[in-house]
Amino acid sequence: MYQKKTKIKNSLGIHARPASMIVKLASKFESKVELEKDNIDVNAKSIMGVLMLASEKGQEIVVRACGEDEKEAVKAVVELIGKRKFDEE
């Protein structure tokens, strides 16, 4: 298992489009990918799960993966959320 913390930086938080992006990206990996916020875990490959997290700007999120490509998966998702800010700005 591999995990990393990141912060949500885009102004709208994880709304519909960012959620879609996370799901699409996570689904490219073999590993099981999860997001955690306030002790709630959701499947990052489930749009329902990611939306239900209702994360806003400034909140911290743990990205966790388990499987062959766990490191790559976590890095990619963390980059999408933290660095690329969902390509919004």
Partner: protein
């Protein structure tokens, strides 16, 4: 089908002709998917529909890509993701496999639960995404061969047809657009019956096979007098019912003319006739039907129709308004009677026997905060008029002692805070459990009055669930055993100088009026629209003959005998009642 006649249980004495509005979309869908396949067939059906939906959405997406803006593509994107969501696919499969639901049923049920999940999200941008999920769900249903169903009531003269209606659903219906109600389930005293009576809308409940015979838009006759429902009536039938409708209206109008005359028998015995009220919109009925105040204000609606528990101020405003409208007459406010058929979904867990469970005062005493909030609101409102307090589902003397203690405590509190209230507010107990009747002389020492709720009293005495169609035929408040319990209660109460009212369904049953007069109860409280006719019957009786009729009825061995006997006696005295007498449920 032309002129299809189906019989049910009449609950509100008027007639309407209108067009069918099928209320719950689930019912319609369930009806159409009656031929449910095996688990594997249903899963296969779902998978086919899912793939078809995916193909459609992808085709749509490539069309939309040609547009200059990106937003539409994004919307379709998210819908595609929903269709591939492992969580959602898993729960559909689980529903089909474990709950043995049909594919369409599984989709509808999942949508319902997702709706609640989304509603809990405070961020409106995300909670609105439910609309996308719903769109996907509708597409899936359509591809399964299910139609999309309209929910909104349009135009007037709608006859709402449903499998059942919950109190909340009923409350949210726009009453001005509904001219009749027919349900497949429910009995004479189910909630929908109470509301239909209150609003003076013809209603027939317990109509077996109803949903298989009706489609939205069908013409339908609802005869709340005889319990007959006619789907797609022919011209002849329609004419007959139109005539009957006119005659019933004429008689009601005749009664209405004398609504403000006192309910006094030929030999001078007087009784108070009050109104049972639940909704704010019923307040106008008090004057309209000649009620002397409110004998029963049910308060469950306050709790069931709002998302959160109503606060003290909100309740105080409602109770004060009631006090003001009723003044100088009294209004009896019953504290929260949750449980049984009015389950508080978020607060109470499902019970094996809700009617024998944690409801009424049992619930209130252990939910101190909710109970105290309500009592504070009632006590504060008592400064605005003549308010009395009524406690539901009492079965033990200790419960009333506890209530008195709590009330006293709250009075101290209010005094300290400087709020005015009625220090001598009367506190009464509902008589619904036979133990209260049998121990009425003990209860009489700790209450100021009794109010007999015959619906529950009958149900607990005869061990009949009135909402269960299989046994509801055994339910009749005219059962001699119920009459005897009422007699015991009245005797003990009067011996202790306490007064007794009757607020159950028996008070609106004109056939029962003579025995209620014979029992010499002090007050009757009933749905307002029934008041004029009940008063009319009382004014044509003498106490002497009512006592005799009661004595004879008590000697009989069954409710059927009592009812036949009383009906015969009543028609001898009031032949014109024939047209509005509710036919007895057999």
């Amino acid at each position: 089908m032309k002129n299809k006649v189906i019989r049910g249980i009449p609950v509100s004495p008027s007639i309407a002709i209108g067009k069918v509005f099928l209320y719950s979309p689930r019912d319609i869908t369930f009806k159409r998917i009656k031929k449910k396949g095996s688990v594997d067939e249903e899963i296969c059906k779902f998978e086919k529909s899912r793939r078809k939906s995916l193909r459609q959405l992808r085709a749509l997406k490539s069309e939309l890509k040609k547009l200059p803006t990106k937003e539409p593509v994004r919307l379709i994107d998210i819908q595609i993701l929903f269709l591939q969501d492992p969580l959602l696919l898993n729960s559909v499969e689980k529903r089909i496999r474990n709950n043995k639901e049909a594919a369409a049923e599984a989709i509808l049920n999942l949508l319902e639960s997702l709706k609640r999940d989304f509603q809990e999200i405070p961020d409106s941008y995300i909670s609105e995404r439910y609309l996308d999920v719903k769109d996907v769900g509708d597409r899936l249903l359509k591809n399964l061969g299910e139609d999309k169903i309209e929910m909104e009531l349009k135009g007037h003269n709608n006859i709402v047809v449903a499998e059942r209606l919950s109190p909340t659903e009923t409350a949210q219906m726009s009453v001005d657009k509904v001219s009749g109600i027919v349900t497949e389930r429910g009995g004479k005293t189910s909630h929908i019956a109470i509301i239909a009576e209150a609003l003076n809308i013809p209603a027939v409940v317990g109509v077996n096979g109803l949903l298989n015979e009706t489609e939205s838009g069908d013409e339908i006759i609802v005869d709340g007098i005889s319990g007959i429902v006619v789907v797609n009536p022919d011209e002849n039938t329609k004419r007959t019912f139109e005539q009957k409708e006119k005659e019933a209206e004429r008689i009601q109008k005749e009664f209405l003319k004398h609504k403000d005359l006192p309910a006094t028998t030929i030999d001078g015995y007087s009784i108070d006739i009050c109104a049972n009220i639940e909704l704010p919109m019923e307040l106008g009925f008090i004057k309209k039907y000649g009620a002397k105040g409110v004998g029963l204000l049910r308060t469950e609606f306050l709790y069931l129709t709002s998302e959160s528990i109503p606060d003290e101020d909100e309740q105080y405003r409602f109770y004060s308004e009631i006090a003001r409208v009723c003044s100088p007459d009294y209004a009896i406010i019953r504290t929260l009677d949750l449980g049984g058929d009015k389950v508080f979904k978020t607060k109470t867990k499902e019970e094996a026997n809700p009617f024998l469970g944690w409801r009424g005062i049992r619930f209130s005493i252990s939910n101190n905060e909710i109970f105290r909030t309500q009592l504070r609101a009632i006590l504060k409102a008592s400064s605005k008029g003549n308010i009395r307090l009524l406690i539901p589902m009492v079965s033990q003397v200790e419960e009333m002692i506890e209530v008195r203690k709590i009330v006293k405590d709250i009075m101290k509190e209010l005094k300290k805070e400087g709020h005015p209230f009625d220090e001598n507010i009367e506190i009464g107990a509902m008589v619904e459990v036979p133990s209260v009747c049998l121990l009425a002389d003990h209860f009489a020492r700790v209450v100021d009055f009794f109010s007999i709720g015959t619906n529950d009293l009958t149900q607990y005495t005869l061990a009949v669930d009135r909402g269960n169609k299989r046994v509801s035929g055994l339910y009749d408040h005219l059962d001699p055993s119920v009459l005897k319990l009422m007699r015991v209660t009245v005797e003990h109460a009067h011996h202790n100088n306490k007064w007794v009212g009757v607020c159950g369904g028996i008070a609106a049953d004109i056939v029962a009026v003579p025995v209620l007069i014979g029992l010499e109860v002090d007050e009757l409280s009933l749905p307002p629209s029934f008041i004029p006719q009940v008063k009319n019957v009382i004014r044509g009786l003498s106490l002497k003959e009512a006592r005799e009729l009661l004595t004879q009825a008590e000697k009989m061995r069954s409710a059927t005998e009592v009812r036949e006997f009383l009906k015969g006696e009543l028609l001898k005295r009031f032949p014109s009642l024939k047209n509005i007498l509710l036919e007895v449920e057999k």
